[in-house]
Assembly symmetry: C2
Homo-oligomer: 246 residues x 2
């Protein structure tokens, strides 16, 4: 039933790979194929010249921990094969040509309004989701530096559990897509350990645990910078979908 429901096929976005680049594969193949298709996706995703605003850049609302760790990871992009991901206001700017299941229709489809990815829905700096994701393809992992603002509240002073879950799901999503064509969340499981304070840095460490039968299994630990406080642990399963040339 699930397979039928998620029968989507994704096509290449607007940034085509150069002629001669290998076709993207349905399943992860040998390491070389894995590496080349991953490189190709990351290159298209991290478009160098664009008029789109990148929201994953420091602003005045970032706390000192968030800012210093951002610069620390930015240094790692030069020496340790980390990649800093841009973050536009909508997934439509990142991934185009996604064919949704037959019969799927949103009542908003015909409207010409503005769309925003959930985690960039609150627009004023510092009030909602402030975050930046770094990816380390060679180790199949990623890190999200997340600072929840006062409009993500649950209990007074604390990040709403749903906002932490959404941030984890979004980090899983980008990691799964770029490192293995994982496009849709099949399941997500989170266990909360400690309340996460608004306005502070929460570090999300994500690992791809395994890939089996077109499913990617990811895990995440959300913790303080010094790793002394674990806020939550989660796991997610993503469905891999075939990517085709347009």
């Amino acid at each position: 039933m699930l397979r039928t429901a998620f029968c989507a096929v994704a096509r290449r976005g607007p940034h085509k790979a150069p002629p001669g680049a290998p076709h993207l594969r349905r399943r992860l193949g040998p390491i070389s194929a894995f590496a080349s298709s991953v490189d190709s996706r990351i290159t298209r995703f991290c478009v160098e010249k664009t008029d789109l605003k990148d929201y994953a850049l420091p602003n005045a609302s970032w706390c000192p921990d968030m800012l210093s760790l951002y610069h620390e990871y930015l240094e790692k992009t030069k020496t340790e094969n980390w990649v800093k991901l841009p973050s536009f206001k909508s997934n439509r700017d990142h991934i185009q040509g996604l064919k949704l299941p037959i019969g799927f229709e949103s009542p908003l489809s015909s409207a010409q309004g503005e769309y925003r990815i959930h985690t960039r829905g609150i627009q004023m700096e510092g009030q909602g989701y402030e975050y930046v994701i770094f990816l380390q393809p060679s180790k199949k992992k990623s890190v999200c530096l997340f600072q929840p603002g006062p409009f993500l509240e649950g209990a007074p002073g604390c990040a709403h559990g749903g906002s932490l879950a959404a941030m984890m799901d979004e980090t899983f999503s980008k990691t799964a897509y770029l490192l293995g064509e994982g496009l849709f969340t099949l399941s997500f499981n989170i266990r909360f350990k400690n309340l996460a304070p608004l306005g502070s840095l929460i570090m999300l460490n994500v690992d791809i645990e395994k890939i089996e039968d077109q499913k990617m299994y990811l895990s995440c630990i959300a913790q303080s910078r010094d790793q002394q406080t674990v806020y939550a642990k989660s796991s997610g399963v993503f469905l891999q979908l075939q990517l085709e040339e347009e």
Copy 2:
């Protein structure tokens, strides 16, 4: 470890119960005690006279399904013991006097800024979370009518999985608090079945499955109004905390 972390004790909010009302209990007792403490919490929660804006009221962005089902459940509040919950911009307006764990501090604590519950963080009508929760205490269940707006997008035209998870968690949260002093999410598990279209009605049917060892176990099915399309199923565990008089 978890118990130590969540050592909070909640006290009564600003709307005190009348003299002679029974003390709220740590655990659910016999049916009569359960009923009276639940009634007392609901009465305080559904404050009749307030200057606070109730966001769980129809506005021009609501789709016809959302509007008609709202009126259907509003009718049930007169005949079938359903209760329509108000929804203010912050949990601080609903539940005051919550003592957080010793040592917990948000960097924003000293700031005098505005706070919003995550699911009311996007302020413009129709763009974010449009929802209203109805509770049926006698059957330990609730219904949330949810219309995700274009600022909650995941895949184009679809609600972000994280937004659906957050809406479920929030509905669990209010249900658990009002029907059994369940205050903090311990764990949450969601399985996605079909993509949920933005701008359409998503019906969340929530049931309290059981209460054991200060833990409340809840389940949710998110589906279309005609129940022909299941979008996701979830389960959650909430920790019950002692409520004390101020």
